[in-house]
């Protein structure tokens, strides 16, 4: 049982599941099943880790941005992502796991972050493709989280989704400018798309039946992985093709019933990458840890004797 005698919110796990499935909301101070709390922390922490790690590939290009406007827009985008990490880790902290513990586990490889942030960026074409397509894939998942049963998380998702809308515009602008530019620039975009397509198709995860997934039973997630992927393809394949770009999957095709068919993504690669074996994983985690160590004295000096 959760809660105390005489507590109106006393619920066993079955009642709690029915409560959240019926649209019931849970706040930070509410009694909740331990498994629900653990699942929440794991899911939300991974999101925070992803925002934080996603910053690393992009921040290199801030320094290389080829116009003042692009430099400003990209710095602003990355700044938003750091801000999202802050919002997300605050939610995790209020669930019982402090920020420093999250960062410790991240750099130790004990917790995960999304596959796309384990890959290298090679050209300005990557900058456009990431802001346009990787962010688009992420936003689809994030919009579904607006209905999360855990209210503090649903609330920050509202601010996050609003800020992400600027990122997609920036991405589209970068891509369109290059596609309208020189042949060399168009090749940069196509080449980046060729490299990012595989990870993009893996991004939403392999299809799992909702009934088997506790994340759905507890309404932490409210969208199936395959549904998210289909939404992404529906929205973005036409956008990609109308620019004269080629999606590097000869089997990609929309059936008459509206369902997209595609080559089976490499699920082994996905698993291998998210368990810490991506091409850039070790270097980026090392960089994160080095940055933390170099600035540890600042946190001690500034935050330790808060007054």
């Amino acid at each position: 049982m959760y809660g105390y005698p005489n507590d109106r919110l006393v619920m066993d796990e079955a009642e709690f599941e029915a409560y959240v499935q019926g649209g019931g909301q849970v706040e930070a101070g509410d009694p909740m099943p331990d498994d629900y709390r653990k699942a929440l922390v794991k899911f939300i922490e991974m999101h925070g880790n992803s925002e934080l790690m996603g910053v690393l590939p992009e921040r290199e290009w801030i320094l290389r941005a080829p116009t003042l406007q692009r430099k400003l827009a990209l710095t602003s985008k990355v700044q938003d992502e750091v801000g999202h990490a802050q919002l997300i880790y605050r939610v995790v902290e209020d669930l019982g796991k402090p920020r420093e513990a999250c960062l410790d586990d991240l750099v130790a490889g004990k917790t995960k972050f999304h596959n796309v942030f384990h890959y290298p960026t090679k050209t300005w074409g990557d900058v456009g493709v990431i802001a346009w397509l990787v962010d688009a894939a992420a936003i689809i998942s994030q919009k579904a989280l607006l209905k999360c049963s855990y209210a503090p998380y649903a609330r920050i998702m509202k601010k996050i989704c609003w800020e992400e809308s600027f990122h997609i515009l920036h991405g589209r602008d970068v891509i369109l400018t290059m596609m309208n530019g020189t042949e060399e620039q168009r090749e940069l975009v196509q080449e980046a798309l060729d490299r990012w397509w595989g990870p993009l198709m893996q991004f939403h995860g392999n299809p799992i039946p909702a009934a088997d997934d506790p994340m759905y039973r507890w309404r932490i997630k409210s969208q199936a992985n395959e549904e998210a992927r289909q939404q992404f393809l529906d929205g973005y394949v036409p956008q990609i093709r109308e620019l004269g770009l080629t999606v590097p999957d000869p089997q990609l095709e929309k059936r008459k019933d509206g369902v997209w068919e595609y080559s089976e993504p490499d699920w082994d690669e996905l698993k291998w990458v998210v368990t810490g074996h991506g091409p850039e994983t070790e270097r980026r985690l090392g960089f994160r840890q080095a940055s933390r160590e170099e600035t540890a004295w600042v946190r001690r000096a500034v935050l330790a004797d808060a007054a």
Partner: protein, 124 residues
Amino acid sequence: MNFPRRLGPSGAGRSRASPGGSRAGQGTGMIWEVFRQEREGQPFQHGGSLEAPNLVFAEAYAREFYGRRDESFALWIVPREAVKEVREPYVAEVFDRDYRRVDGYSLKVKLKEARERAGTSRAG
């Protein structure tokens, strides 16, 4: 709006979190709650929380997080400890207190009687 319980010896028993607790970062900064006014004249609504060593830093960060896109007309910044959360605030749920509700009043019959006495009742 619900604020997480402070944990540890000072908390009252309903906590469920891990021993580390949700107390702001265990020896790191204080937690501040930021309320924002979306537009002039609107109520202040909770925007989020942030960690800072003191009010000067908290204000700097609140401006950044809730104002850098010029999205807030005004902000209130409050230390988390200053906020007392009251769950289920209804104070008296046993006896009916219909005098506090609109449906506690039934005037139709009395109004009809009063109009008849005054000769002002409407033709049927």
